[in-house]
Amino acid sequence: MSTSPEPLLVNASRFRAAHAVDWQRLDGIVTRIERRGIGALTENDLLMLPLLYRSALSSLSVARETSLDRALITYLEGLCTRAYFQIYGVPTSFWRQLGDFFARGWPQAVFGLWRETLVAFLLTVAGALAGFLLVLHDPTIFYTIIPDSLAHGRDPSASAASLRSTLYDDGGKDWLATFATALFTHNAQIAIFAFALGFAFAIPTVLLIVYNGLMLGAFLAVFAGKGLAFQAGGWLFIHGTTEMFAIILSGAAGFRIGTAIAFPGRAARTDFAFAVGRQAAVVMAGTVVMLILAGLLEGIGRQTVKVDLTRYAIGAAMLAGWLTYFYAPRQRHVAVS
């Protein structure tokens, strides 16, 4: 049975002699995948991978029952774990996931959050109304709502002419694209933050959303006080439909997580958290895409389009586009998770 000069006393030795070649081959294949990806394998290796994996698994089971060589068992456990994750745990390719995201994953996830989206929308509206009425009633409140760094002189003490100029000033055409990029990165960071804060039972997210609405209302009140409401509306509407929608959606994603952790229902808290967490994360990733578009509209579109009605038309078209994309009835694929 054995070629060694003396009989092998230990099971592990006989076992190693019989199977070590297979284990080393599996080790080699898995190492190559880990280093250079599945493409580095020959066709033959690819066909052998599942066979070698199953034989290593069965070796592990046998070794656990018959052998006391701990090094052998540790080695086989490590090898089988690495092979398992190369066989079962590998995600589909990045580009395929990206395609799936735009075709199905994103609109479905947004559709699934419609209740939270509605709540976030109503909170924004309530915040905006409150901000508008407060500032109309007492203009000094404006200064407590909006920090100086954001106001840029657009406060109740500004004259109608200077306010009007902020609506149509192109701020130097050279820096339009940079401005758009800065807006996008800033807003996207806030969207991600709103999502993450949802974990604290959604309370900070609620505050963030209401405050966002409050700022909107306060700004509008300043312009409305000077009879510039319609123009200011166009100035906001061109990118605002996309941007506010994105912020509302990221807030909704935060709500979803917060409520899932606070009220998991019949499911275990951890199980439920990740089922909704992944869906909410897809929505949040989508808002980053929306904010790229909003940044372009705000940084470039708004500075080049100076006609109020055109600004309204672009904003309305964007809103209609998003609503159709997210909520229009479509064939829903069941298989996507």
Partner: protein
Amino acid sequence: MWPFRKRPEAPPPTLRRSFVTPEGVDLQLELGSAGARGAAFLLDALLMLVVLVLVTIAIGYLVEGGRSQLLMILWLIGAFVLRNGWFVLFEIGGRGATPGKMALGLRVVARDGAALTGGAVIARNAMREIEIFLPLSFLGYQASQDAADAFLAIFALLWSGIFLFFPLMNRDRLRVGDLVGGTWVVRTARTALAEDIGASETIARPRRSFSDAALDLYGVYELQTLEEVLRLGRPEALATVAATIRRKADIPDDGDDLGFLTDYYRALCGRLERGMMLGRRRDNKHAPTIRRRA
């Protein structure tokens, strides 16, 4: 040692987790320890900082040559992608690990063992905003304020610290992000198959034989401790162990500790394995001995 003996029914908390494959084998996954996780994160943060500094310097040089607007845009987008994309893009790839995790032999996997989806990776990494960025910004806030606001800042720091130290508060070392993404971090370091003590010698030499009484001294636990001693091969440890076994089994000292222990290991291992095949496993020296049937 009698009054201090550990009770066998209270095993120490370990990072091993049962995980059964579709083939029905328990892989006994080993989770990444908090220390390894922290080290991997620091390594990643360092790498990100290095990349940021290098890119900034490179762009700074290029700005001298004009086209500053394009470079400014590139820098803004680059910084955003670096901050939010470093972890996501590395973990979404086939390896499931950032460079820091790779260096420490860690890998992110879905807790249910299925393929890691983009949604899970994004969820687990977006949560870094409240785990890392929130405490950092509170720290910065505290540094910029005078003592009047210190109390508020400390409270905020404590509150955000809950998220930062979350992994230390649960058995599975889950971050807030792991909880929301349904993932955990396991060790998948490549290990070499250690040498076989049972048959590692090529030169045939006479073996020592041992009496049943000498082999009844120990069980599986002591055998595996002996295996460790033999693999480490430190002379003083070998001498101590060999002397103990010789004294207990009443065997004269022949001056060759390594040879003696190797032979004893083989004989004991063979005997215990035979017992195991017959369903009589002897876990440690306190368990009843494996008796031959008459």
